[in-house]
Every structure is written in C-alpha cells, then in structure tokens.
C-alpha cells in the first residue's frame, strides 16, 4: 500500500511539475556528432531559442559507431527524438522508406538548397526530400606556403603545373612533394580519385551518366584519374606503401611535406598543429581555361521523426536550419564543415573561406559512387579504395583498374549490363 501511495505521489508531482512548464515544448535532436555537443549547447540552440520562445531544444547525441543501430532501435520502439540527424544516401533513405522520416521538401527554406545539396537526402527520382542539408566536406589540396616560397613554386592551376611543382620539390629534396600513403587505402580513393576525378568526368554530368548507364567506368574520363594517380607514387615519401593516414597528417603538419591531398575536415586539426602558413588549391584542371569541378560531398543533414508529437515546432526548427543564420553559425563553429545552402556565408577562418570560395568558380559534385552505385555486392564505394591504391602502387594499370570496377558494377547493376 505504502509503495503504491509513494509511486502515485511521485507520479503526481511529475505531472504537476511538467504542467508548470507546459507552455514550453521540448524537442530532442538525435545525432552522432557527440564532438559537437558544446557547440550545439552554447551556440546553435541558444540562438534558435532566443528567436523562438516557447520551444526548448535538447541535443542528445549517441557515439558515432552506435548511432545507426541505436537510432533504428529507438525509431522501431517509438522512443526516438523529434529531430533526426541524417547520414547521407541509403542510410537515411531506408529510414524514409520505412516511414520513420517525414518529407520536408515543402519547407520554405528548402528553396535555399541546390539539387546537389539535396541529392544525399532525396529519393532516387528526386521527388521527395526528407532531410534539411546541413554541411558538406570539400576536397582539394592543402599546401605549405613557406615551402612553396622557399622552393619558388607557384600555386598550380593545371595538371602540367601541378606535376612541375611536384618535380621542383623532388629536385629540391628538402620536402616530400606529396604527403599521402596507401596503407589505409581510403585516402587514395577519397583524397585521390574522388578529389581529382570530377575534372575528368565533368562532375555531376558524368556521375549521373554512370547511374543512367550511358557512361562506363572503362571510358577514358573514368580511367584518366587512375592514370594521374599512377604518377603520384613517385612523389610520395619513401615507403609510402606502408604509410598510414595519421602518418601523412603528421608528415604535413611537421612541415616535412609540401602538398597534402585533403578533405576540408582536416582544417581544425591542421590549424592547431601546423606552425607554418597553409594555403589551399582545388584539383588542377587538364588544360588552362578548362572549367573546374570540385568534390563537394554532402555529409550531414537533419530531418523530422515522422511520429513526433510536435510537428509544428520541429518544422520551425528545420526551417531555421535552412536559414542564412544557421549556415553562418554552423560553418564558423566547425571550420571545414561547409553549409550546403546557397547563402554566402562569411567565415572567419581564412583557409575555410578560401576553400568554400571554390564553389563560386567551380562546379560542385558529390563523390562518384555514394549514390545508388554502392547498393550491391561488390560495393563500388569500397572497391574504388582498392583500385585507387593499386593504381598508385602500380599493381594495376589504369585500364585494369577501370575494367575491374566496371566488371564489379556490371555484375549487379542493371543499367550497366
């Protein structure tokens, strides 16, 4: 009896306590970015709450490795938060197909996003969009400005100049021309193939043609990047075959290497560790005056739990996430993660500003195999790790690498058969 009374009393006090704050609606964000907890709590959420009195936002991240499974379990049990941070492509698409994510394409501020930005969180035909894009990462090359001055090399804009610069560093001998290894394989693919490739296959044009089946991976524009990678090997450090990703980062920040094939997520780490001035250039084009293409890969977005109890408040937040204000806050708190909206965002980090400036002069494209083409077995997004690393090491010729990829894709993807 006593226990029952106690429980009822506790329950009553809980309800009463909640009732006192009933005018405030609390919405919860599910996320894997536990690194960003303080930024959300101190910068982003206060800014939103100040403008939208009556809505309280709680950022409740999970560890990245457990996020997908934890989120799936919570969604199935109906205990997930109101806002869902979305992984790009199939991870979120399956949630939408299962009815866990609501469509958000009709939000007013969705007009601020281009088709590439939305591609990560749209159905295959692009008819429905289910997350508001938050940020992307851009590929290019980060270089050691001091080394460039010392050796007297100009920032390359064409492939010819790029290799001339590498040759100059090689002849000089004080710097490793290119800081990359093939031990972990993925850098060869993401910072190599996906970085320089869009200039050859003309970004989205080639990527969509591949999905449609009108281009093949054995076509020259898909093989040529391997041919360039094959030339990289001689400019990498001694024993690059066993050089890992952290090795390459350290070589560069210690000032022992001149050029680092990079993703923009490196910025905060490099800013903290390198004590020389850094600059960045986008992937060099084949001939002077060619139109340039960059890999501007969609990475993170935010969507609405379809079974949320506060759809209006959630939509208010999502709409705000598409605003210029959010874009500015996010991009400045996390240099290297760039807003995907069309707003021009002033960033305080000069290198980040430089990198995002490429969007004005070049065409953006996402990594070639992440949409649709990574659905089968063998998975193209994994296969190109191995082919790219093989091309650099010379254990596959560019043609063999292309043929290997095409065989793998054609084995399960109908438009390519």
């Amino acid at each position: 009896m006593n226990t029952t009374k106690l429980v009822s009393a506790l329950l009553a006090s809980t309800f009463l306590g909640t009732a006192a704050f009933a005018q405030d609606v609390t919405i919860t964000i599910e996320s894997w970015r536990n690194d960003d907890l303080t930024i959300w709590q101190d910068v982003i959420i206060p800014a939103f709450e100040a403008e939208n009195p009556g809505i309280k936002v709680v950022f409740a991240p999970t560890a990245p490795a457990q996020y997908n499974s934890a989120l799936n379990a919570k969604l199935a049990a109906g205990t997930a938060g109101d806002l869902i941070t979305c992984r790009p492509f199939d991870g979120s698409l399956s949630l939408y197909d299962a009815g866990h994510l609501a469509e958000v394409g009709d939000l007013e501020n969705m007009a601020n996003f281009g088709p590439v930005a939305k591609s990560g969180w749209s159905t295959d035909d692009g008819s429905a969009t289910f997350c508001v894009p938050m940020a992307s990462v851009i590929h290019g090359f980060i270089y050691n400005k001091d080394a460039f001055e010392e050796v007297g090399v100009d920032v390359p804009t064409t492939e010819g100049e790029f290799f001339a610069a590498l040759d100059a560093f090689k002849a000089d001998g004080n710097y490793i021309p290119l800081s990359m290894g093939t031990a972990d394989q993925w850098e060869a693919a993401t910072m190599g193939y996906a970085n320089i490739g869009p200039n050859y296959w003309k970004g989205e044009e080639g990527r969509l043609a591949l999905i449609a089946g009108t281009q093949k991976l054995t076509d020259p524009q898909w093989v040529a990047p391997y041919a360039q990678l094959a030339r990289w090997g001689e400019y990498m450090g001694d024993g690059f075959e066993a050089q890992s990703y952290p090795d390459s980062q350290n070589l560069f920040t210690l000032g022992r290497a001149a050029i680092y094939p990079a993703g923009s997520w490196e910025l905060s780490g490099f800013n903290a560790q390198a004590d020389f001035e850094m600059g960045a250039f986008n992937a060099p084009v084949q001939a002077a005056g060619d139109e340039c293409y960059i890999s501007d890969h969609v990475d993170i977005a935010i969507g609405m739990n379809a079974s949320t109890e506060h759809p209006e408040e959630v939509r208010t937040f999502l709409n705000w996430a598409g605003s210029a204000e959010f874009a500015g806050l996010y991009a400045n708190s996390l240099p290297g993660f760039f807003s995907l909206s069309n707003h021009s965002v002033e960033m305080t980090d000069p290198l980040a500003q430089e990198i995002v400036g490429w969007r004005d002069s070049c065409n953006s494209s996402i990594r070639p195999f992440h949409q649709i083409l990574s659905r089968g077995t063998p998975n193209l997004a994994n296969e190109y790790w191995v082919s790219s690393a093989n091309a650099i090491r010379g254990s596959m010729t560019p043609e063999e690498a292309g043929a290997h990829m095409q065989d793998g894709l054609a084995s399960w993807y109908e438009p390519q058969q």
Partner: protein
C-alpha cells in the same frame, strides 16, 4: 531371478557427463548448427528464405566470390606453412637448448620468450607497425646503422611481402607456445633413458636426434594440429595491422578477415550474414578435414613409448 541379472542402470555416468555435454552443446554444437542453418537461407527484404546450397553455389560459382575465397584460402595456407616451417622448429630448438643443464639463466629466457604470447594482438600489431614504419620506425634506422639500409622495404605495404611479414610477426608472438609444450615433454623424459644412451655412447646432438626427438614426436604432432587450427582461425593480427580490407590489394586476406568483411559488412558495404555463414561453414570444413587427416592418418600410426 532373471531380472536381477539385468545390468544395473548406471545413472551416475549420465549425471557426471551431463554438465559437460549440456554446456558444450549449448555453446558449441547449437551455434554450429545455427550457422549451418543460416548459410542455407538468404534475406529477401526482411524475410529469411530457404535456398538450399545456393549460397555455396555463389561462393564457388561466382567468379568474384570464388576468387576472393581461393585467395583467402591460399594466403591462409601460406600463413600456416610459415608457422610450421619457422615457428615450430624454432620452438623445438629453443626448448632443447633450455632443457640443457649447461644453460644459465634458463628460466629468464623461458619467461622472456613466452611473454609476447600473453600480449594482446592489438598491441603486437600496433607495435610492429611502428617498428616497421618507413617514417618513424626503428627498423630502417637499425638497418642503416649496419649499412644495410638498402635492404629495407615498407614490408607491410608491399603485396609480395605483407603476408609473410605478418606471419613472421605472429611467429614472434607465439613461438613461446611450442617452446613450452616441447620443454615440458623434454623434461618428462626419464633420465634413465638418457643415461642408458650415454652408456651406449650416444651423447650431445646424437642424443637429441636419436633419443629425445622420437620421444617428443607426439607432442610435435599436437603442436602441429594446434598451429593448424589457430592459423586457419586467424583474424585478429591481420585486422589489427591491415584493417578489414586486408590490404595491400587483399594480399593479406585470410579466411577470417574474408568472413568478417562478408558477415558484418564494411563501411558502405552492408553485412550479409547468410554468405558470411557459408564462409564460416567452409572454414569449419577445412579445419575439420585437416584435423581428421591428422587424427586418423598420423596420430594412429605414431609410436608411443611407455616408461
């Protein structure tokens, strides 16, 4: 009267066997059949559909799957051969030296050689990656110090050396196991036998080859089969040193890492438990066949000596 002649039901046998049988069945036999069952199904949407031996047909019939499988099996065999040719002879040699009474500090050596065995694979993999690193490792510096820098290669990154390098790292780690087992069986050889040999003029190396080696052959057999089972289940060191893709270019892929990639998926590749189970069954078969060959082909013919 006749009822009394019937042998009594010996319940105690059942009672005493029960704990072991139950635990072993629950933890080993049931999962084994569970794996076999899983390998006969395939996922269609959310449902498991029975497909018979279709997964095995894919594994051996599909050119991509079968070349991955044979590559893993070939690498695994080489991994085993290196252990048999290097780890076990060295283990026996060290044990023979340790058992010699002329050696001082033998317990120190014994402990020192055994210690790597108790280290975690992750530590061993990481430490050797650092030692062999072309950038910060001490291996290139040490070779440089003796003027042999030209011999240095980024071994873990070269297709032709990576697997052998990993096998040798594993030999370094586990040479203590054969050493300990052989050492124990060398110590159990009665002194009378050796003394009788001495009377007949058999001493030194001859005593080892003619007396001790035949007497420890059963132990060597056991070690071989332990090595075989452990090597064909190998995974940890490869994963710790080279990652799940077992690079460069799958040259260090063994059955264990192939199984892992298939079963659990990797990066954007989703896991396929059914194909994974099929590979696991093949691993089980390979090991089963190997053990059977040993048990029925070799062990039954081995001569044992009673002291």
């Amino acid at each position: 009267m006749s009822t009394n002649d019937r042998p009594k039901r010996r319940w105690h046998i059942l009672v005493f066997l029960a704990p072991a049988v139950l635990v072993y069945s629950a933890l080993m036999i049931l999962p084994l059949f569970g794996t076999l069952r899983l390998s006969l199904f395939t996922a269609e949407g959310q449902e498991q559909v029975f497909v018979g031996f279709e997964n095995f047909r894919t594994l051996f019939g599909d050119e991509r799957w079968s070349s991955s499988f044979w590559n893993a099996l070939k690498n695994n065999t080489w991994f085993f051969v290196v252990h048999m040719l290097i780890q076990n002879p060295i283990g026996i040699a060290i044990a023979a030296m340790l058992s010699s009474s002329a050696l001082r500090f033998s317990s120190f050596y014994r402990t020192a050689i055994f210690i790597p065995t108790i280290l975690s694979f992750v530590i061993v993999g990481f430490a050797w990656k650092l030692i062999l690193s072309p950038l910060w490792g001490i291996a290139p510096d040490m070779l440089d110090a003796v003027g042999l820098k030209s011999l240095f290669k980024p071994w873990l990154g070269k297709e032709e050396y990576a697997l052998t390098t990993l096998a040798l790292i594993s030999v370094w780690q586990f040479v203590g196991i054969p050493m300990m087992l052989i050492y124990a069986s060398l110590l159990s050889i009665p002194d009378e036998v050796l003394e009788a040999g001495e009377c007949d003029g058999i001493t030194g190396m001859t005593a080892f080859w003619k007396l001790k080696l035949p007497l420890i052959l059963p132990s060597i057999g056991i070690i071989s089969i332990l090595t075989f089972v452990a090597n064909f289940n190998a995974f940890d060191l490869i994963y710790a040193a080279q990652g799940a893709l077992a690079g460069p270019n799958y040259s260090t892929d063994v059955l264990g890492s192939f199984l892992y990639r298939t079963f659990f998926g990797f990066q954007m590749q989703l896991g396929d438990p059914n194909m994974g189970a099929a590979i696991a069954m093949m691993m089980f078969l390979v090991i089963l066949i190997g053990v059977c060959i040993y048990l029925f082909g070799i062990q039954t013919r081995m001569r044992r000596y009673q002291f």
